[in-house]
Amino acid sequence: MKGSSPLLDTTPLHVREARRRRLIYGLLTAFFVITQIIWVGVPVLMAVLWSLVDPQHPWSFPQLFPEKLSWAQWAYVFKYTNIERALKTSYSVAPLAVLLSFVLSLPTAYVLGRKNIPGKKVFMLVVLLPIIMPGMVVALFLSRVFAAFHLTQSFFGLVLAHTLMGIPYMIRVLTTSFESIPQDIIDAAENLGAGTFVKIKDIFLPMVRPGLLAGMVFAFTTSIEEFNLTFVIGTPTFETIPTILYSFLGYNFIRTNASVVALIMMTPNIILLFIVERILKSDYLSASLGKV
């Protein structure tokens, strides 16, 4: 039969190529979807199920799913922890920390991205040190500095602490954005008489906006998830969501309650990521078309 053997296959080469490409894309997509399900879907689903386990009907081996679901674990967290206070603090501190880390990172990122300064690579590494070092080590040393400046147990101190943790991400992402701005555009603007302010307003800021949004996401999620420094310098006056989460996730691991707090912390972050992802896509497009 025609086409039944590869030797007799008379299908045009480009069609076969297209089929092969489709197969590879299909396999890659399937691999991506399966990986996402394993790495993201399953843990989230498990967290949702564990958060709904009824205390009177434990979820144990060999049950595949919980015998009975209820809101008891959620009610417990809202009744017996300071989660509401923590939510208010977390979502007040994070936007301010993002703003401050942007303001403080911008000049450094500009210099690192656009100027050739000696020791630039070393500086780029130094900037990342707070992320590389263990959180509690950074917290213990920084708490001394904060105490010396009377910044512990204060809202501003907390914002500053979260800013410091967000700055490495912000600098790194903004630096890459500044680096990627074509020099031709800046030269052309200068030839047309653009001053510093016009260049910042019409070239730098629009072109680093995708990077800025990505940096904001990193800084925001870092702030929302920051535990060590907040715990040492903020509590007992301030509690954030991770300070509640760690009480269930740390030494005294209670999976049901930890799942509730993890979901409370995770959900706004996921929504934010989707929003920023949409903005980022449109921004890249508009930036490339010069319509920003």
């Binding site: 434990p58 979820w59 017996y80 708490s143 715990f231 007992p236 740390g250 030494y251 691991f253 999976r255």
Partner: protein, 386 residues
């Protein structure tokens, strides 16, 4: 324009600093009275003048929140209950150690941190002579906590005991003697679990029992204030016991991890703390059919304590908080809410996971503190790293 931007930045910074200064509460002066000499009524009056107490815990948020409400109702003193993580709590206390006035008044002290905190001189005391009815609280726990000397600085507020937790559907005959346990482990590879002793007290208790049974008992260590090398010379027998069974034992990551693995069916028998088990069971993390016992070969017990920080801003209120938690009413309430065994010896409790008979006959005391530290480091070196 540059000047305008600069001015705005300076203004923002100034506003922030101003907000920070305004938001910060001035630390209260520590109680002026000599707490060691004052009468209890004077301490209560000083506590009321302080107006608040900050308490750090890492478990039982339900009970401690209720206890805080009761405290406020009874004394009119605000109770800030912070339930954090054990390690983070102590790291914070240690970070604030050199400050004249810290932020923590009173905190729970678990067995793992007694040595570090006592060595660092973190707590105010002794407080045994100050707290009313102190003699009603577990006397041995006032002096020694899980093998470490506390000398009346740390107040017992509940007792706990390690035992063997098991799934009665999987385990039909319970090993009681050392030989029976060995035979059970050999017959059921990987089904017996205990936690890494550097991560939790239940694991320490098991390794402690292994040492006792492989190296000639615990009597010889009594009264020692330092590790006597000749007495630990044969501990290699204990490490050999573990190495010989490395493929048959399951070493877990924490006290609660042991319970979680039992719930998940990975293991069917594990060493656990009774209060951990009750808590996990109450929250739906462990099947209700689970049972617990102390085998005849013996497992160690202990309890948790509370200590008043040396630089506590509200020391009198902290002492009053300890008194509040150790009253008969609160001890009973704690047991009803979270099933934690009271530290008070004058409360008769029935219907616990471990029977009174088990506690009386099979609970064993820890060997002295230096041996415990030595045991943990040697276990890591000779078992985990080999």
């Amino acid at each position: 324009m540059k000047r305008v931007i600069l001015a705005i930045l300076v203004l923002l910074l100034a506003a922030g600093i101003g907000f920070a200064a305004g938001a910060k509460e001035a630390p209260k002066a520590a109680a002026k009275i000599d707490l060691q000499k004052a009468t209890w009524d004077q301490i209560v009056a000083a506590a009321k003048a302080e107006g608040q107490v900050t308490f750090y815990a890492w478990y039982f948020p339900d009970y401690f929140k209720e206890a805080g409400i009761d405290f406020e109702k009874q004394y009119g003193i605000k109770a800030n209950v912070i339930v954090g993580d054990q390690t983070a709590n102590f790291n914070k206390a240690i970070a604030e150690k050199d400050q004249a006035v810290g932020t923590i008044d009173v905190m729970i002290v678990g067995g793992q941190w007694v040595k570090t905190t006592m060595d660092l001189n973190l707590f105010y005391g002794p407080i045994k002579s100050i707290i009313p009815e102190a003699d009603k609280l577990a006397p041995s726990l006032w002096e020694v906590q899980e093998g470490f000397l506390t000398r009346g600085f740390l107040a017992p507020f509940h007792r706990n005991q390690t035992g063997i937790l098991y799934d009665p559907e999987q385990v039909k005959s319970l090993p009681q003697t050392w030989q029976e346990l060995e035979a059970w482990i050999d017959a059921n590879p990987k089904k017996f679990g205990f936690c890494d002793p550097s991560k939790g007290g239940s694991g320490q208790s098991f390794v402690h029992s292994v040492i006792a049974h492989t190296t000639g008992g615990l009597e010889k260590y009594k009264g020692d204030t330092d590790v006597v090398q000749s007495k630990v010379a044969n501990w290699n027998l204990a490490w050999k016991w573990f190495q010989d069974r490395k493929d048959k034992l399951t070493i877990t990551m924490s006290n609660n991890d042991s319970i979680i693995r039992l719930n998940g069916g990975e293991i069917t028998m594990t060493v656990a703390w009774d209060d951990n088990v009750s808590d996990q069971m109450a929250k739906g993390n462990l099947f209700k059919r689970a049972k617990m016992y102390i085998p005849k070969f013996g497992l160690a017990g202990g309890g948790d304590t509370m200590g008043v920080l040396k630089n506590a801003p509200n020391k009198a209120a902290a002492l009053l908080w300890i008194r509040h938690i150790t009253t008969k009413e609160q001890q009973w309430k704690k047991f009803q809410m979270v099933k934690a065994y009271p530290a008070r010896m004058d409360i008769a409790i029935e219907g616990t996971l471990l029977t009174e008979e088990d506690r009386k006959n099979n609970a064993i005391p820890w060997f002295p503190a230096p041996y415990k530290s030595y045991m943990i480091s040697e276990f890591v070196k000779n078992v985990l790293m080999k």
